[in-house]
Amino acid sequence: MENGEITLICSSGIADISTTLFSLLKSGDHAIFSKDIYGETIELISMLRNFGIDITTADFTDIETLKTLFKANTKLVYTEIMANPLTQVVDIEKISSLAHQHNCLTVVDSTFTTPFVIKPINFGADIVIHSLTKFFGGHSDVTGGSITSSKEIINKIRHSYLLLGAVLDANSSWLIHRSIKTLGLRMKAQLNNAYTLAKALKNISAVKEVYYPGLEEHPQHKLAEKILSNGYGTMISFRVEDNRDKVDQFIHSLKTVKYLGTLGGIRTTIAHPVSAFRGEFTNEELYKMGLTEGLIRISTGAEDINDLIADFTQALEVFV
C-alpha cells in the first residue's frame, strides 16, 4: 500500500520506530528529528543519545532553518506528516530532497495519515513506518507496527528486527490483515466526518480555535491540499477555556464519545494532550508547545455525523 518493496511487521508502533533507528544509527552519527512527533519517540531520542548518537530537533515547517542543521555525519532525518496534536503539516517532498542532497535517509511516521491519505515514498521518503494499532487495526483491539522501504534498506534493518524480537504474533497479524480489508471504507467515512465535524466545531461559541488542515485558515492548508488525497486526516484539535475542572466536566458530559489513550479506531475518541505530557515537561514548556488545559484532540470515527456533532455540541455547553 505504501509503494515500497518490502514491509516488516512489528509487535508495536514503537517497536518499528526503535528497530529502524537502532538499525540505521550508530555511535558518532547525527540525526535530525522533527520536534513535533509522538511523545514516546521523543523519549526514545534520549535513549539514542545515551548510545552516543547526536540528535538535533527542529521545527520541520521551517525549511530554511532545517537546511542549516545538516552536518557531515548526519545520517537520517525523521518526521511525521501531520504533527500531534496541533496538526501542522510538513512538506515531505522538500524535506526528502534536502535529506538526499546530504546523503541522508528520510524516515516518516505516517500513522496519522495512512496510505489512503498520503504515500510518503511517492514524495521521496525512504522509509515509512506505521503504528498498525491505530487506523490499520481500526477497532482498538490489536497492537502492531510496520516498516516499509526498499529491499536494500530493509536488508539493513532485518537483522536487528529479528535480534530485537520486534516480530508480531500470528493472532495479531491475522486481526490486522482482516482489518486492512475495510481500511478504505473506514477512512472514507472517518475523513468525511472529520471535515464536517471540524467545520461544525468552528461554529460553537465555546470553541476558541480549531486545528484541522482542511480548514482554509490552517497555516499549511495549501500544502495539505497539494500533498494529501481523499481528505485532510481524521485528527482534529480544538481549544476551549483553560480550565481543567470544566474540561473534566466536558469529558463526563460526552454521551457516546470516550476519552482513550489511543486513536484511529472506528469509534470517535478524544484525548487531553496536556495530561499525556504533564509529567515530562514543565507548565512553561507545555505552554510554549501550545499545550494548555483547554486543548482537546479528537480522533474522528465513523459514527453518523449528526450524532457526533450533537454529542460535542451538548457537552461543550459546560463552557458557556
Binding site: I14, T133, D141, T143, H252, T256, L260, G261
Partner: protein, 64 residues
C-alpha cells in the same frame, strides 16, 4: 436517540463486571482502556489502572 449507524458501533461494548465471574481470566485484546477524565488519566499513567495495552495488559500482568 442515536442513528442505527452510530448505535451499531457501540452496542455490546458495555459490560456488567459484577455479573462476570469466569473460572479462567478473560483475554483482553483492547489496545486502550476508557479514561474517565484528566485526573483518572493521571491515576492511570501512574500505574493506578490500565490505559494502554503496550504499557500494561491484565493478561501480561497475570503471566508476569
Amino acid at each position: 436517540m442515536l442513528s442505527e449507524n452510530t448505535e451499531i458501533l457501540y452496542r455490546g461494548t458495555e459490560q456488567k463486571p459484577n455479573a462476570l465471574s469466569p473460572e479462567t481470566p478473560p483475554i483482553y485484546p483492547a489496545s486502550a482502556y476508557i479514561i474517565d477524565d484528566t485526573r483518572d488519566y493521571e491515576f492511570a499513567n501512574n500505574g493506578g489502572k490500565y490505559f494502554y495495552n503496550r504499557t500494561a495488559n491484565p493478561n501480561r500482568d497475570g503471566l508476569g
